[in-house]
Symmetry: C2
Subunit: 354 residues, 2 copies
């Protein structure tokens, strides 16, 4: 029983900061703080008896290592950052969720940086977040290509969502919005619609650009159908306020920028006494959870967005661990999800009614 040596140190005075540190544990256990560190990190080169003495002291003092000190010594924070333009948007919420869950399984935490749609802040925000973390996931749909290229090198390890870059070692996870919108348009045409309208998203958004490209391709392949462009945005209100423009367009099939816009639009149409899909068909994009529960249920293009968040972590993890990454980035194909908001076309409506 080689006790007494350390039991005499009954009183432990806390360090300057008031919190229990490695030093207090070392004193209480009668060893050096180096040994405490070894024990806490499961280093087996330490005598079992001493180890248990240290563990006892640590438990008794409820010692919890200070992660900041640890991070400084180790040069890593076990934290990743994500920059999103708008946390109110279900798409980014879902990415965040997938990312957070996947990262948590590997013991990493997530720091969020919401740019609140102020794209001029995104670069600064990204830089700050990056320096606090071991890696970054960047969602910056409105940032210019030039600015993106400029900041990307300083952000490594980095994973981009719905953007691409020429820089090496920067995986891009992009959803093929162009294909998705073509599938939706094709679906409406099969139902007999010949006059479609695209209720666009935010003007400078990258994913809106992809949709527009897809529609151009669609128009080229289907010259017999009219595709009108309507200005829009990305939320409920956009859709709700677009009712007049939609009706004036005379289109019978409406491709909304996303599910939110589609829901706002359907709500507005309903208020006008119009029937969906009887009078007019509406499609969304994304397949957010709510899309199954709208009335009528929403035809949309499903994007495995939570899975994308998870994949973002896997790509980022490979970068952090400096592993060989066979598939740097990937492309997600939306899946057509036909529900009740799209139906056969009525006789074509005439434009400029009322």
């Amino acid at each position: 029983m080689a006790r007494g040596t350390y039991e005499r140190q009954a009183m432990v005075r806390r360090s300057a900061t008031g919190r229990i540190g490695i030093a207090e544990v070392a004193v209480k256990a009668g060893v050096s703080h180096a040994t405490v560190s070894r024990v806490m990190n499961g280093n087996f080169t330490v005598d079992p008896e001493i180890a248990s003495r240290v563990r006892a002291a640590a438990a008794e003092l409820k010692y919890q290592p200070n992660p900041v000190g640890r991070s400084l010594a180790l040069g890593k924070t076990d934290t990743i950052g994500i920059v999103v333009p708008d946390l109110a948007n279900p798409t980014f919420q879902a990415i965040l969720r997938g990312l957070s869950r996947a990262a948590a399984q590997d013991g990493y935490r997530v720091l969020i940086a919401d740019s609140f749609e102020v794209s001029s802040e995104e670069a600064i925000l990204a830089g700050e977040a990056r320096r606090r973390c071991d890696g970054l996931v960047l969602c910056a749909p409105r940032m210019s290509d030039a600015e993106l290229e400029e900041i990307v090198p300083s952000l490594h390890p980095l994973v981009l969502i719905n953007r691409t870059t020429t820089a090496a070692d920067v995986p891009s996870l992009v959803v093929d919005y162009g294909q998705g919108v073509q599938d939706l348009a094709g679906h409406l045409v099969e139902l007999g619609h010949t006059r479609l309208a695209f209720l666009a998203g935010p003007p400078r958004s990258a994913s809106n650009g992809l949709r527009l490209e897809g529609l151009e391709a669609f128009k080229a392949a289907n010259p017999q159908v009219e595709v009108l462009m309507l200005e829009g945005g990305s939320d409920f209100d956009t859709g709700h306020e677009a009712v007049d423009a939609v009706l004036d367009s005379g289109a019978t099939g409406i491709l909304a920028f996303n599910d939110l816009v589609a829901m706002g639009l359907m709500s507005g149409l309903h208020e006008r006494g119009l029937d969906v899909p009887g009078d007019i068909s509406v499609t969304g994009f994304d397949d957010i959870p709510f899309a199954r529960y709208t009335t009528p249920t929403l035809t949309t293009a499903a994007v495995p967005i939570t899975e994308l968040g998870q994949q973002a972590w896997h790509q980022l993890r490979a970068l952090i661990r400096k592993e060989e990454n066979d598939a740097p980035g990937s492309r997600y194909q939306p899946r057509l999800e036909i529900r009740a908001s799209s139906g056969p076309a009525k006789a074509p409506r005439s434009a400029a009614h009322g």
Copy 2:
């Protein structure tokens, strides 16, 4: 022109970690790293000429202070944490958003910890998050009172959401779910409903408990109306799967645990060919953004949840700054939001039909 002194150090070799540190800037500017620190922190006790020399060197090397080192020296991280049980739930998304936005305005970042409904993890998660941050916001609706009381002292500065504690200096932000549910029930009764059913939330949830208390009070005050209890949960599927139970209950007015459950239920009723509110009235709770855009639009009790997130930051900030806090915590009254999903009662339905 006292140049040359420092311009000779054209080559700057990066530190061990590869990143540019204060040391590199110091060498390039020909000063000590202490001086660089002073300049970077706007300390005016430094000679303007030297200061600008330092700034030039910093700019040229694109020096960005390492926040980890800074945090260690300063004993603060400029980061707060939030623990939520489920990031998929719009309520917590909204809290997070309000919190994040408010904190960002004061230069703080937010670290998220999602417990994924595993309440046994919550305590550990909370502790870990806390140690990495300057303060914590805890949403742990399922944690037992005993466990909560046990961990609370070690989490200070701490703000609780929808929980209370006996510990001092721990503000609680709680929504008065009891009052809200009574308002909703009262509304249905005014419409002539005499047989109500409450589609409950997760059994051990604190906010569900508050609703149940409210309903008890309501029953006591309105002995003429029947209030049935139905088991449930907190998401779409719960509501959707509860259709049979709801119909069997014979109730004409349904109080759903929250908006999600209400939406699931309405969707299920719609599939059965039933009309809301013609055949049956449905109310939700929370007034999530989607509630305005369902068909029919959803009668619900509006909770200023984003504002609550913002308030959480203000309370936490006061704690971090050790300010006097005149109003430690507050209570939020839901506002009855009458929309189209509730209407006059039909002739009472008989239970156990078909």
